[in-house]
Symmetry: C2
Subunit: 169 residues, 2 copies
């Protein structure tokens, strides 16, 4: 697919997000299994459900424009997940592992905030109101998840901090 | 380096950011060359200078803790840059290419916002005030760059939107 106009770029961004969401759906169950804190586990489970809904919305937009076809792997999300999984396998302490899961989750969210922010701006410029509304809805949910992870991190850091002190004794 | 405590995780996050910043310094000159709009070019040049300063700050923190050694490639940033470069080579229109450069730039910024946000939170929890101040300074600058790119995008989208209309005639 040659990229000439803003419409082409919009299609590319949607493809990229579709690949990113699909990769998150594959990676999340492992994260849920590795999480120790119950609140974190519940938040990740909610997020898996939300991610499925975000993918459904992208499929709805695909029904309008037909951007899928040559599935392009989003290398950015692949790298973020790879970094996260690599770190997690090296951690033996449960609270430290939770802190690493939250950190990886926030990188995932910020990738999506940038991607959906761009796609929503393109949709607006191209007067694709219906697609724009769906993208904006997901964007707002990604921002909310990022802020929820920040709150969880605060509680968790206290726990890992205590472990830290214990380790330094 | 085994990851057991929050301190170990902090060192890992700093390594990751060091690799990310180094990759950005390598990628930015190509983006500057490809950019058409003068304001975008100037913004990217300023950002290259800022990125060098962010790397210097990480080196300052390395002098405190010695986190460097086994250089770990940040795969997240590698993927983000790879996606951006792949898209750019497919674009023939100058204003559309500028839009894609801005979109890639915002993915880079959001990666860094997540990474520096995490590192600054770890520094605070571990009472590393000096390192925390340096990380917070960079975090604020990354947020500012992201918001500057959003403003540039608005002006640029108007231009690409006009091209879009021309292409649809």
């Amino acid at each position: 697919m040659p990229v000439i106009t803003l419409h082409d770029l919009f299609m590319q961004e949607l493809q990229d997000l579709h690949s990113a969401e699909s990769q998150i759906i594959e990676a999340l169950p492992k994260m849920i299994e590795m999480a120790d804190d119950e609140k974190l586990q519940a938040a990740l489970e909610d997020h898996l459900e939300a991610t499925q809904q975000h993918l459904d919305r992208l499929n709805e937009i695909d029904a309008m424009f037909g951007f899928l076809g040559s599935e392009k792997i989003c290398e950015g999300m692949r790298g973020i997940i790879q970094d996260g999984e690599r770190t997690l396998t090296e951690i033996t302490d449960a609270a430290t592992r939770d802190a690493a899961i939250i950190a990886a989750g926030q990188k995932v969210e910020h990738y999506e905030i940038a991607g959906y922010g761009t796609a929503a701006a393109y949709a607006k410029q191209l007067n694709h109101d219906e697609a724009g509304d769906l993208l904006k809805k997901t964007l707002d949910e990604e921002k909310k998840t990022d802020s929820d992870l920040s709150s969880l991190a605060e509680g968790n850091l206290l726990a890992t901090g205590l472990n830290e002190m214990a380790a330094e004794e």
